[in-house]
Amino acid sequence: MMAQVLPAARRYGIAVVTVALFGLLAATTDGFLSQANFRNILDQQSALLIAASFATITMIAGGFDISAASVFVVAPLFALQVENATGSAGLALVVGVAVGLVVGVANGLVVTALKVNSFIATLATSFMVFGAGFLISDRSVLRASTDAYPAIARTRWWGITTGAWIAAGVVAVAWILLSRTRFGRHVYAVGGNAEAARLAGVHVARVKTVAFALAGAAAGLAGVVSSSRTLSALPSDDFSFVFGVIAAVVVGGTSIAGGEGAVWRTIAGAFFIALMINGFNLHQVDPIWQRVIQGAVILAAVSIDSWTQRRPT
């Protein structure tokens, strides 16, 4: 029995921990086990899931994309300017994603062609993108001028917001892309051993550039979804979004070193953190103590997952 359970626990450690947390909250927390609460969680996590699913691919490919935060902030500023000027939410959505795609391609080229470390490269592009946000918005809050823009993320289908449905679709695409396509196999190969992948005929630069481009586009879409949710966008230098994305990816068990990971792990990681925060709020835990406990729990979860993956079967 144990010989069967332990390998499964090793492989699915983060999922087990997340399910355990779900069970604990269900047993101890008033208001947790309700449709409204689950809909809220899906709604709250929609933007992060969109960005994190493709950030996973970038990380597996051996890259580190800090610029997701700046794209998340700035893409909706471009989108809202277009929406205000044309009245078209659809065009605004396309523009927001395109902004992210352009930034992602730029990141990819800097990393592959100029051989700049991805952390440094995307940090540098972050500053440029943040600055562009202040310029495009004239340092002002931008708000939607039509009802169609808020409808992008706030329409409800079977009680669940379209933002959450979009996130589900994006996660599915990322999952299939990584686990069922040649591109996905190349991503793992490049992240595991770029030189070996190159010798095996994989176009390493192309794979990395595409990974960064897709991550950028996803971050742009996440920004548009978030701004649709909040009916506005605000220029800032705020990096906190990418910390949330990286936390979900790393807590899920994807290796920062590259070559290992999966989209499902990121989803599990994201929901582990989301459930924890939801539990804190439902129990009215002091926000100051939330920070301390959250950090400790994340550390414990990552340690357990790391330990289960290291132990031999």
């Binding site: 947790f32 409204a36 809220n40 809050v141 706030r154 009916l231 009215q284 926000p287 100051i288």
Partner: protein, 381 residues
């Protein structure tokens, strides 16, 4: 020698550091060069600070009396413009942008050139900027939006010692969050509404929102709990509502200050544990988020929203009846008064001391449906 240094990199670095130290020590103290230009003209011939109007949107606190004429009748306006360093916490912040625009208008009318330093909310960067401004000797005065609070006091003292006039804007520099009075000796003016006092304003609005409700269940959404201004504001609110046993805080949340998303998430979760509260209090950004959620849940009519900031969405919400009320925010007035105080200081006029920009506004800056027409929002939110 060169060969020895090349073969021992550590020695090379030590040598470079030693050279730098000698050069730095030999530069000496040059603190007088910037200060002397500033304090020439007589107060009588300078544009006096504007008196407070009786009514209207742009009410400013009464300026202190100019006082008796100066003994030394120097030319009223120096031919060279005064140089003022504006140490902003963030040039990209919508609130401070409003302050800056008003500041510029007053400066332009009074032969003052402003150099803005953007600290990007980095306390270390602001310290560097402040110290560089002092060391440069190029500035007659500094207007500071402090990021690090009391940690800015030594630099303020250094600036004053160097002959610069200092005006503090918007943020507390000191340990006392209950007063607008300057807490560093020598500061010409401290232009801000004290967080504790604003909290009391929130408390007064909460009391009004809870009128005829017994019990009255209130949700309070912090910006960032633990931040001194947030805690001081909450203390002020608590002091006021303590006299009303019917009022209870049934849930708390944290909305942050970067848009409505924090308020959306906090309100969604709070509705699961406290589905039937009566009043929600928070910063404007959080209340915007709460309004979105309450509208989606069909509960907006059941909850009275009390904001803090006086932003465009807040004033619109109050005017439309969707919000109950809010504490006004006057970043434009803050900037204008700060620069007026600097003008007075640079021209030998009286210090403004502590100035609460809301104190002389209608109903002490409390905006409700009854008086919303008297208020014009000064920032976007």
């Amino acid at each position: 020698m060169a060969r020895i240094l090349r073969s021992r990199p550590a020695l090379l670095w030590l040598a470079l550091i030693a050279v730098f130290a000698v050069v730095a020590a030999s530069c000496g103290d040059d603190g007088d060069s910037g200060g002397e230009q500033a304090l020439e003209p007589a107060a009588a011939d300078q544009p006096a600070p504007e008196p407070a109007p009786d009514e209207g949107d742009d009410m400013a606190p009464a300026a202190p009396d100019v006082g008796e004429e100066m003994d030394d009748p120097e030319p009223a306006v120096s031919e060279e413009p005064f140089q003022v360093a504006y140490l902003s916490a963030s040039s990209a912040n919508t609130w401070l942008l409003s302050s800056r625009l008003e500041m510029q208008a007053v400066a332009a009318a009074n032969n003052i050139e402003i150099t803005e330093f953007d600290a990007q909310f980095d306390p270390g960067l602001q310290t560097t900027q402040f110290q560089d401004a002092i060391a440069s000797g190029a500035y007659d005065g500094v207007i500071l939006v402090a990021i690090a609070g009391i940690a800015s006091a030594p630099d303020i003292e250094a600036a004053i010692a160097a002959g610069m006039e200092v005006v503090v804007l918007n943020q507390v520099v000191g340990e006392d969050y209950t007063t607008s009075e300057p807490q560093v000796p020598g500061v010409s003016a401290n232009v801000m509404a004290a967080p504790f006092v604003n909290g009391k304003r929130l408390g007064e609005l909460t009391v009004r929102a809870c009128a005829e409700l017994d019990p009255c269940e209130v949700v309070y959404i912090y910006g960032i709990k633990g931040l001194p201004i947030d805690d001081a504001a909450r203390a002020g609110l608590d002091e006021v509502i303590a006299a009303y046993p019917a009022i209870t805080i049934v849930a708390e949340g944290e909305g942050q200050y970067l848009g409505p998303e924090g308020g959306i998430n906090a309100t969604q979760d709070i509705l699961q544990v406290a589905p039937d509260f009566d009043v929600l209090v928070g910063a404007d950004q959080s209340v915007q988020g709460a309004e979105i959620v309450l509208t989606d849940e069909g509960k907006l009519d059941q909850v009275r929203l009390v904001g803090w900031g006086g932003s465009v969405p807040a004033i619109e919400g109050i005017a439309a009846g969707r919000w109950f009320g809010g504490v006004f925010g006057a970043p434009g007035d803050e900037g204008r008064i700060a620069m007026e105080a600097m003008v007075s200081a640079l021209t030998g006029g009286p210090d403004f001391g502590g100035v609460d920009p809301l104190a002389d506004l209608p109903d002490n800056g409390l905006v409700t449906a009854d008086n919303v027409d008297l208020f014009t929002p000064q920032w976007d939110g």
